[in-house]
Amino acid sequence: MSVDAPPRSNSTGAGPTWRRSLGSGTSTPERLFRVALVLIVGCLATALVSVIAGMQRTASVAEAQTRIAALTTDSAELYRFLADADAMATSGYVSGGREPTAVRARYDDDITGATERLVDAAGRLPGSQPVATIAEQLPVYTGLMETARTLNRDGLPLGQAYLGSASALMRGTILPAAEELRRQQSAELTAAYGRGVAIPFAVGALLLATLVAIVDVSLRERHRTHRTLSVGLLAAGVALVAALAWWVAAVGTANARLAAAQQHSDAVTALDDARTAVLQARSAESLALVARSAGFASDDDFTTGIDRVVGADGASGLLARADGGAPGSADRITALRVAVGDWEAAHRQVRALDDGGNYTGAVASVVTTQPGGSGAAFAGVDAALADAIGAERAAFADGTGSAASALTGLVAGPAVLALLAAAAVAVGLGRRIGEYR
C-alpha cells in the first residue's frame, strides 16, 4: 500500500496508551478499532445464526422424511392391516363351515402386520393416545374373535354374537383410533414441511446488514483516505456475498424440490383416504351378508364410501386430488376409476342376487375370487390403489431426499465464509490501525 498522504488524526491528543481509551477514545485509530470490532462481531453473529438456521432447516427436512416413513409404515399400513383382518374374519364366517385356509392365513398375517406396525409406532411416537387405544383394544379384539372361532367349530351360533362384538369393537374404537393416528401424522408432516420451506429471515437479515455495513465502511474509508478500497474489507464483502449466494441457492433449490414433493404428498393423502373409504365400503358389503337382512338393510354405507372415492358423478371425489404427477400417475388413476366402476357393477349384482333370494350366489360372489365377482373386483381396486400409493410415496420420498441433498453443506459452508469475512475485516482494518502507531 502506498502512503501518499498519511491520514491526519482528528483527536486533540493521544491518550497515554490507546488501549486505555478503547471504549471512549475519539482518535481515528480508536474509532477504526471500534468499527472493526462491530464488523467482526457482525460476521461472527452471521456465522453463528447461519449454523443454527442451517441445522434447523436440515432437521425439518429430515423430520419430513421421518414422518413419511411413519406415515408409510405406521399409520396408513396399520389401518389397512386392521381393516383387512376384520374383513377376513367376517368373510371367513360368511362362507360357512371351516374357515378357508387362505382366508385364515391372511387374517393371521394381518394381525402380525398390525402388531409390528403398532410396536414401531409406539417406539416412534411415545405417549400417543391413539397408539395406546389400539394397543389396549387389539388383544381384546383377537380374544373375542378366537372365542367366536371356537364356538363356530363347536357348531354353536353364539359364535356369531362374538364375531359381531369383535367387529363392532374394531369399527367403533380401533379403526377410528388408527384413522386419528394417520391424521396426526399428516398434520406433523405438514408442519415439518412448513418449517423446511420457511424464508430464512434471521440469516438473511444478518448477512445483508453485515454486508451493507462492510460496504458502507469501505466506501467511507476510501473517501476519507482517498485511497483504493481496503483489500481486507473487499475480501470480507466477497465472502459474505458468497455466503448469501449459497443460502439463496440452497433454499431456492430445496424449496422448489419440496414443493414438487408436496404435490406427491397431497396425492398420497388423497389415496390413503380413498383406501380407507374403499375398506369401509367392503366392510359394509360383507356385513350386509352377515346380517342376512336382504333388502331390509340399507346399502348407503357402500354407496357413501364409493362416492367419496370417485364422486357421485364418477369423475370427481378423492381420486380427483390423487394425481401427484409421478410418472404414469394419470394412467394409474384412470385404471383405478375403471376398477372402482367394475366393483360397483359387481356389487349391484351381489345386491340383486341377495335381494332376489339367491343368498348363496351373493356370498359366493363376495367371498370367493371368481372372475366377475365382487371379491375379485375388490381385489382389483385394492391392487390398483396399492400401486398408485406406492408410486406417489416413492416419488415423495425421492423429492424430499433431493431437497435434503440441496441442503448439503448449508450448516458449515456459509458459516465458514462468514468466519473468513471476520478474519479479512480483522486483517484489513488492523493494517489501517497499525498505520497510526
Partner: protein, 331 residues
C-alpha cells in the same frame, strides 16, 4: 464535501445500527416460529371410545283390551301349486319364493349352523313347511334376518310375507300384525352363571339383567323395577354375561335352554315371570294368508309333525318340551 462535518470521519454508529437492526430482526424471526424439536410427540388427541348405549325404555304400552284370537281356516288346505286365484298365496307362488323374516341367533329355534352356513331350527322348520304348502318346494324361501325391534315394521311394510321368530303375541303388536294361532307356549325366566347364587329376580337387586331391545321380556323386567340393559339380540346379552358385564339374561325358557346348551357354565333358574305364546306374524290386510297358515298349523297339530319338530330340536335341552297349544279362533 459535506456541510456539517469538515471531513468524512470514521463513524461506528452506522455499521452498529445496521447490525443491531438485523440482530433484532434475527432474534425475532428465530424466536417466533418456535422450532419444535424433531420427533416430538404429537399432542394427545381425544381418546376414541364408543360405548354401547344401555337401553332405551320401551315405548309405553297404551291400555289394550286383551289379546285377539286368530282367524279360522276356511276349509282344507289347497294342493301346493293350486292356490286360489287372486289370493296372497297365489302371488307368492307367482313370485316363486316365500319371503320370511327370521332370526339367525336363536339356537335350536332360528339359527345359522356355523358348519353349513344354513339356517336351521324349529322356527325354520315351520317356514319350510309353509313354503312347501304354497310352492311345493320347502327350499323356495328367501330368509331375511330381522332385529327383534324391526319385526313389526317389516311385516307392516310388506318387506316380508311373514315372520317366524319366536314372535310373542301381544295386543299392542296386533295393531300392526295379524298373528296365526299360537304354535308354542313359553315362560320368561332367567339365565345365570352356574354357582352365582341368583335363584330369583329378587337376587338381582343392584345388578344388571340383559334382554333384547323392545322384546316383551323387556317390559316385564322394567315393570319389576330391575336395572335392565338391552341389546339387539339375546346372544349379545350372553356375550355380556360370559364377560361378566351383566349378572343375568332374561328371556323365554326355550331360548334360554338353547343358550344353556351352548354354555355348560350357565343355567336356567327362577319362577315364571311371564307366560306368553308364539305365533306367525303376518299382515293385517292379508287374512287369506293367515287362514292358510292356520289351516297348515291345524294339520301339523293333528298329524303330530309340530310336536315332533319341537321334540327333535328341544328334546335334549328342555324337559318337558311344551306341547303345542290348541288353536283358538275369534270367528
Amino acid at each position: 464535501m459535506t456541510a456539517s462535518g469538515p471531513r468524512t470521519t470514521v463513524n461506528v454508529a452506522r455499521p452498529l445500527g445496521y447490525l443491531c437492526a438485523a440482530g433484532a430482526l434475527a432474534v425475532g424471526s428465530l424466536l417466533l416460529p418456535g422450532g419444535t424439536a424433531p420427533g416430538a410427540a404429537p399432542s394427545a388427541g381425544p381418546s376414541v371410545t364408543v360405548r354401547p348405549s344401555t337401553g332405551t325404555p320401551s315405548p309405553a304400552t297404551p291400555a289394550c283390551s286383551g289379546i285377539r284370537e286368530s282367524l279360522r281356516p276356511d276349509g282344507p288346505l289347497p294342493a301346493p301349486g293350486a292356490m286360489p286365484p287372486g289370493s296372497t298365496m297365489a302371488a307368492i307362488a307367482e313370485r316363486g319364493r316365500l319371503i320370511a323374516g327370521v332370526d339367525q341367533g336363536k339356537y335350536l329355534a332360528g339359527y345359522r349352523d356355523p358348519q353349513t352356513g344354513q339356517l336351521a331350527g324349529a322356527d325354520i322348520d315351520i317356514v319350510h313347511s309353509i313354503a312347501k304348502a304354497i310352492l311345493g318346494d320347502p327350499g323356495a324361501v328367501q330368509f331375511v334376518v330381522l332385529d327383534i325391534a324391526d319385526r313389526e315394521k317389516a311385516v307392516k311394510d310388506g318387506k316380508v310375507d311373514l315372520v317366524v321368530d319366536h314372535f310373542t303375541v301381544t295386543c299392542s303388536r296386533q295393531r300392526n300384525v295379524e298373528f296365526s294361532s299360537a304354535y308354542m307356549t313359553v315362560t320368561q325366566r332367567l339365565l345365570v352363571p352356574v354357582g352365582s347364587g341368583i335363584r330369583e329376580v329378587e337376587d338381582l337387586r343392584g345388578r344388571t339383567v340383559c334382554t333384547s331391545r323392545t322384546s316383551t321380556n323387556e317390559g316385564v323386567l322394567r315393570a319389576l323395577g330391575l336395572n335392565v340393559q338391552t341389546r339387539t339380540g339375546i346372544p349379545d346379552c350372553v356375550v355380556d354375561l360370559q364377560r361378566g358385564r351383566v349378572a343375568a339374561v332374561s328371556s323365554d325358557d326355550v331360548i334360554l335352554a338353547g343358550l344353556a346348551a351352548q354354555d355348560p357354565q350357565t343355567e336356567v333358574v327362577g319362577r315364571a315371570l311371564d307366560h306368553s305364546s308364539y305365533g306367525v306374524g303376518m299382515r293385517l290386510d292379508q287374512p287369506d294368508l293367515v287362514r292358510f297358515v292356520n289351516a297348515l298349523l291345524e294339520r301339523s297339530r293333528q298329524d303330530g309333525s309340530l310336536a315332533a319338530s319341537d321334540q327333535r330340536w328341544l328334546g335334549d335341552v328342555l324337559d318337558p318340551v311344551p306341547q303345542p297349544p290348541p288353536a283358538r279362533y275369534r270367528d
